[in-house]
């Protein structure tokens, strides 16, 4: 017994920081997801000429909390004919995989739970793909046609697009030669150029594939509400449903983080290696202070005293955050914390932009049909990403031959990207000549993927 106790102490001594981070992620993530949902609803409202949530708290700022409370106190319904154990297990599996993959990500050089694992990216992508088991099992266990079809669609979609996403990642990894997340960002820092410029086609492929992987519009077929009610989530309600929801948004954060790490320079400031652009360091604190100031302006406009106090609290939070961001830039003592604090800001900022793009697409365009989705994946995205890997490889060999570095690499990678683009157009033209419509007599084995 004593030995076990000793071992536990030893374990805690060695891993207290990652464990703390893990607990923090599990505790904070639901809140973050709640607020992403609020932002999404507000953005959607803005684009649709309405206001969105306005009732709970000033400008609906407390809506996520109200929603969470509502979901928690809802009756927990398990359908009679459902497979109880699997029904119980499936959402947990989904959310578990999503949370686990967050462990591998580095939010700034200082914040990483699974410190320096050498298979970083592979770990994140692999573990997040495990979440599909939760979806398939959940759809199967609820014993409903809609759920089953949603689950099947989801698995077929994920398998198809995982290939394209993987190939796109390979294109970017060719530049670094490592899977370690920190080394990937450091490589971009050393080269002084983000990989999105060196491998734009790969970034495009990953962008499309990641939307499909996270089941977001226009590829949100597994939960296409106008067709399959709610897809695999149809029979889930209350807390179980919110677990799926959590997993979906956590997955969004994961794919956005992977894209940020690999293509958008991770936690690096734009033009981090250009010293005269150090003024950019003032941007984050000023931005947040400006938001705080705006909140102060809005205080008198709030209808009740409680809401005024809340608005003041938000403003205070913004000021504190702004000062924290300002400190490393102006106070020499705080200098060592610069990369940690500002890295975190830039990372979250880029992830937010990526997620914003997801949302923007969702409000703008209609949904693909399932066969169109599969065709886009197999006939367009996968060939394109595979060809792109070859082209990037050739470009890198040429780059090494001419001893090109950093921005100079653009000389070889841009022609490669142009060739890939031509290939893409050729594929599209071939698709068009084959007819936009699938022949109706063909076997309908879309799940064969």
């Amino acid at each position: 017994m004593n030995a076990l106790f000793q071992a536990t102490i030893e374990f805690l001594k060695a891993f207290w920081a990652p464990l703390l981070c893990g607990v923090a992620i599990v505790a904070i993530l639901p809140l973050v997801v709640g607020y992403i949902v609020l932002v999404e609803r507000k953005l959607m409202a803005d684009m649709q000429a309405r206001l969105g949530p306005m009732r709970v708290g000033p400008h609906g700022l407390l809506q996520p909390i109200a929603d969470a409370v509502k979901l928690l106190i809802k009756e927990d319904i398990i359908p009679d004919d459902a497979d109880k154990l699997v029904f119980w297990l499936a959402p947990v599996l989904s959310v578990g995989a999503a949370l686990l993959s967050l462990a591998g990500l580095a939010i700034g050089p200082a914040f990483q739970i699974a410190q320096d694992i050498n298979i970083g990216i592979l770990f994140v992508v692999g573990v997040s793909a495990l979440g599909i088991f939760g979806i398939v099992l959940g759809g199967w266990a609820s014993n409903s046609h809609y759920s089953l079809m949603g689950a099947l669609r989801s698995s077929a979609q994920l398998v198809s697009y995982e290939t394209a996403a993987g190939m796109a990642l390979v294109s970017a990894l060719l530049f670094t030669g490592t899977l370690n997340i920190k080394s990937i960002v450091e490589a971009q820092s050393k080269e002084g150029i983000w990989f999105v410029l060196l491998a734009p086609v790969a970034f495009f492929c990953y962008l499309v594939a990641s939307i499909a992987e996270t089941n977001r519009a226009p590829f949100d077929l597994p939960e296409a509400e106008s067709e399959l009610v709610a897809g695999y989530m149809t029979e889930f309600s209350g807390f179980r449903w919110s677990l799926y929801f959590l997993a979906e948004y956590a997955n969004m954060i994961v794919v956005a983080s992977v894209a940020t790490t690999l293509f958008l320079g991770g936690w690096l400031r734009p033009f981090a290696s250009v010293s005269w652009l150090n003024v950019l360091d003032f941007l984050p604190p000023l931005l947040i202070l400006a938001i705080g100031a705006y909140c102060i302006v809005r205080v008198p406009k709030q209808p009740t005293r409680v809401q005024q106090m809340f608005m003041l609290a938000v403003a205070g939070l913004c000021f504190v955050l702004g000062l924290v961001l300002l400190a490393p830039v102006v106070v020499p003592v705080a200098k060592p914390f610069y990369s940690g604090i500002h890295g975190g800001f830039w990372f979250i900022f880029k992830v937010s932009l990526y997620i914003y793009f997801f949302m923007w697409l969702r409000f703008t365009i209609p949904r693909y049909r399932f066969d169109q989705l599969m065709r886009l994946g197999w006939h367009f995205l996968i060939p394109l990403s595979i060809i792109n890997v070859l082209l990037v490889g050739v470009a890198l060999i040429a780059g090494a031959y001419f001893h090109l570095q950093g921005w100079g690499l653009l000389l070889v990678t841009t022609p490669a990207a142009v060739i890939a683009l031509v290939v893409a157009l050729l594929i599209l033209a071939a698709e068009k000549s084959r007819g936009a419509r699938p022949d109706q007599t063909a076997a309908s084995d879309f799940y064969a993927g």
Partner: protein, 365 residues
């Protein structure tokens, strides 16, 4: 996997995109539809039977509750049918105001269709733009007669209410704004690759099929048949105005979309022409307080937003109709559903339900 067996799946009556309480039994092979059956009647209220126990005026509000998103049009059809039975005619001023309101109603109905249809196909945003404009129309209705949805705007023999003071100005302002608003919807959808992919070639209904099923309205015109009662058998004041009848070529969902978009433009033009010159004079023909039409029967049809709405009324000379039969466009158009949906995918089913533009209140009556 699923390919081996047929899967029977119930879409509705509680389903996000069956537009009410339509229940569709789908026979699926994988995701492909190999058969379908519409099960209706969840909203049956026995409207036709009710008519036999109400006086002619008492029954008028009931027809508003059939196609409740185009109540003005159903009301116009009923009033004109009874006028025909009574052998009276509404005065010119009443006819023009009726025309304006009915065309506004057509726009409102098509806007609702566009919003929900786009939503079914996954475009979330057009719905709110459509509702924004529909709201303006409903405001005009509200100013005119106090009600927004089930308006009961017309009376047998003319109108009960004189047009409000700002009526012409309101309609004109709406029509002016609306021109650019249609462009707004079209930028979101018409050239969108995904929209075209989802609607082109989906749910094709040939002209011969359409006629055989008795389909009317935009669905018929999209199949290439130029048939519009406003032109063929003019009623109200339609013979005074110039407008085009848009027709499609292939009869697919995309054509029906284009036809309805163009119809909204034409309705706007009719409204603009009509407000230019509204005749003065009485708004009510000389009909008594108690209506006792001479024994006989009459069939009168008008072009409602969804197609031909017809009223077959039999009078036995008392204050109550002996029989009222209603030919609702939604009900007849829905019969072509199975033909349109066979061989398509589940995702197309919702596109096709949307494109027929049904209102279950009218299907079930």
């Amino acid at each position: 996997m699923l390919g081996a067996d047929e899967l029977v799946i119930n879409m509705g009556p509680q389903h996000p995109s069956t537009h009410g309480v339509l229940r569709v039994k789908l026979k699926l092979d994988g995701e492909r539809v190999i058969g379908s059956e519409c099960i209706i009647g969840y909203l049956h209220r026995g409207v036709e039977k009710i008519a036999e126990n109400r006086t002619y005026q008492q029954f008028a509000p009931y027809v508003d509750r059939m196609d409740y998103v185009a109540a003005v049009s159903s009301g116009l059809g009923y009033c004109e049918a009874i006028e025909k039975l009574l052998m009276v005619e509404a005065p010119p001023r009443a006819r023009v105001i009726r025309t304006i309101l009915t065309e506004l109603q057509r726009i409102a109905s098509h806007l609702l269709w566009l919003g929900t249809h786009a939503l079914d196909i996954g475009a979330l945003t057009p719905l709110f733009y459509c509702f924004r404009e529909r709201e303006e129309i409903l405001k005009i209705f509200e100013k005119y007669c106090g009600a927004r949805l089930t308006t009961h705007a017309f009376r047998i023999g003319g109108l009960q209410y004189e047009a409000h003071d700002t009526f012409e100005k309101d309609v004109e302002r709406f029509c002016k704004d609306f021109e650019s608003r249609i462009v707004e919807y079209e930028t979101l959808l018409t050239q969108n690759r995904i929209w075209i992919g989802r609607t082109k070639g989906v749910g094709i209904l040939t002209a011969a099929d359409a006629i055989a099923f008795g389909v009317t309205g935009p669905v018929l015109r999209a199949s290439g048949v130029k048939w519009d009662i406003r032109k063929a058998m003019p009623y109200a004041a339609y013979d005074q105005y110039k407008f085009e009848i848009p027709v499609g070529t292939t009869g697919d969902t995309y054509d029906r979309y284009l036809v309805r978009m163009e119809e909204m433009r034409q309705s706007r033009l009719i409204c603009l022409q009509a407000i230019e010159n509204i005749p003065t004079g009485p708004i009510m023909a000389k009909v008594g307080k108690v209506l006792k039409p001479p024994p006989g029967e009459v069939y009168h049809a008008i072009e409602a937003p969804k197609g031909e709405i017809g009223y077959y009324v039999v009078s036995d000379g008392t204050v109550m109709p002996y029989r009222v039969h209603i030919r609702p466009p939604s009900f007849i158009n829905l019969q072509a559903f199975d033909r349109m949906v066979r061989g398509h995918l589940v995702a197309d089913v919702v596109a096709i339900i949307g494109t027929i533009d049904i209102v279950l209140g009218e299907v079930d009556r």
